[in-house]
């Protein structure tokens, strides 16, 4: 095989650049979804820990349902269902006509909602791991609730939650492949188009697998470093 007919090349007939661009899209949709999941997950954890009966019930229902149905169905539902919810909502604000989420947002929000269910559990577990003694000590020292949260609870929860949150990130990254079903050109969708156009499916799906491995390995490395920093205080000499 010469360099010119190598389908993954970067020339005019090569799919290399397209695949790299698709990898950027994967990162973009995964990061957006993850960020959204962090917000939803924190709210969910808060509702489960501090909420009243109703809030707890809602949070429990949310985590149970989202963890019980296939993610691909959640993505489809967001994609097709967003306008059914958003159009009447927009009508309230005087916007007529269809309002709907573009594929990118529908995918990111769906991923976020799914990962939020897992992040809520991770953060709840981390909160439980904070020893009551530390909180009591802080209160005894006269800290306000805000300071207590900012200086004691948040850093400790983050430290305990970090490995779990890292796992959720890996999950989100893999989940982003499912967004391909809406037509968003991320790694997998690009690989499918390439495979179909050239008749070389192995080449393209293998390249896709390598790209995911690379992103995943890089983020694991980054996470280990962060983890090392955050646990400096608790590391034994």
């Amino acid at each position: 095989m010469t360099a010119s007919d190598f389908v993954l090349g970067f020339g005019e007939a090569g799919w290399g650049a397209a695949l790299l661009q698709a990898a950027m899209m994967t990162l973009a949709v995964a990061l957006t979804g993850y960020a959204f999941g962090l917000v939803v997950g924190s709210l969910g954890a808060w509702a489960k820990i501090k909420g009243g009966t109703l809030l707890r019930l809602i949070a429990d229902a949310y985590t149970t349902v989202l963890r019980g149905i296939p993610d691909i169905l959640v993505i489809y539902l967001f994609y097709f269902g967003s306008s059914a919810v958003l159009t009447p909502l927009a009508g309230l604000f005087g916007i007529s006509g269809f309002v709907s989420l573009p594929g990118f947002m529908a995918g990111a929000l769906a991923i976020g909602l799914v990962s939020g269910a897992y992040q809520a559990e991770v953060m709840r577990g981390a909160y439980r791991a904070v020893s009551p003694g530390e909180i009591e000590a802080a209160i005894a020292a006269g800290m306000s609730r805000m300071t207590l949260f900012r200086r004691i609870i948040a850093p400790l929860v983050l430290r305990y939650a970090l490995p779990g949150l890292g796992n959720v990130w890996q999950l989100v990254l893999k989940e982003s492949a499912l967004v391909s079903v809406t037509g968003l050109v991320e790694i997998l969708r690009q690989a499918q188009i390439g495979a179909g156009s050239t008749g070389q499916p192995f080449t393209f799906f293998f390249a896709a697998a390598v790209l995911y491995l690379a992103i995943s390995s890089f983020s694991t490395w980054l996470l280990r470093r962060t983890e090392g920093r955050l646990t400096l205080g608790s590391r034994r000499a």
Binding site: G68, I69, D71, L73, V74, Y76, L77, L173, P201, A209
Partner: protein
């Protein structure tokens, strides 16, 4: 809401449940065997065994299942050598491709659960068994595996649910399980949302049952951790 349509959809989608369950149960069963082998390899202390097992786990856990399914289904078919080989009668069937992909995938995740469970067996118990003169085989059969099983169960329960959800991806390679049927119904009636909600409800119900079964199994396997029956009666929990 169009109740008759939802009911009709439910009846049609339910015909896909046997295939969904069959895929999940078979892949979990085969995956568990592979997972135990992988975990033992990783814990063997022999680099020649441990390293390939670690690599396997890393690769399958770091790539999306959908990519694995496509690689096995479309990817392997690209090569004449594969198509001419004795494996082709198996690999040419979408069902077997889906089952292989799901099995290899769950084995990688389950390997970590099994490994953790095996490591959790207290060394004292193993020493005690050795001191009684148990052979390595008996030791594993009577002490290590039962204790590890109990420890692995909560984690494995999650894996059950994840795998039932994962079978939905088999629809991408033409299998007509619940999600595949849902996609077909959508293409006939174009009523996406109602059909998707019915499909989601079916998965939710299956997973609810599975969760209950796992809880029951956990309960059944932890007889020694429960209070004596007298206390139970007082509590009246069961």
């Amino acid at each position: 809401m169009d109740i008759p349509f939802l009911y009709e959809t439910l009846l049609k989608l339910l015909t896909g449940v046997p295939l969904t369950l069959q895929l999940a149960v078979s892949s979990l069963g085969l995956g568990a065997i592979l997972a135990v082998i992988l975990a033992l390899a990783r814990l063997s202390g022999l680099r020649l065994l441990a390293w390939p097992a670690s690599c396997y786990v890393f690769i399958f856990r770091s790539t999306p299942l959908l990519v694995q399914i496509f690689l096995i289904y479309h990817g392997l078919g690209q090569f004449h050598g594969v198509r001419a080989s004795f494996l082709w009668p198996i690999l040419r069937e979408p069902y077997w491709c889906a089952l292989i992909a799901l099995t290899l995938n769950t084995a990688a995740y389950s390997c970590e659960i099994v490994r953790g469970a095996l490591l959790s067996v207290p060394p004292g118990q193993i020493e005690a068994a050795r001191a009684c003169g148990m052979s390595s085989f008996t030791l594993h059969r009577r002490v290590v595996f039962p204790l590890a099983l109990r420890h692995a169960l909560p984690g494995y329960g999650n894996e059950f649910i994840l795998m039932i959800k994962s079978t939905a991806l088999a629809s991408i390679i033409t299998l007509m399980e619940v999600t595949g049927l849902a996609a077909q119904l959508i293409s006939e009636s174009f009523r996406a949302i109602e059909i998707l909600i019915v499909a989601a409800a079916i998965y939710l119900f299956i997973n609810f049952i599975v969760t209950r079964l796992v809880q029951w199994a956990e309960y059944a396997l932890s007889a020694d951790l429960r209070p004596p029956p007298a206390a139970l009666e007082q509590g009246g929990a069961l």
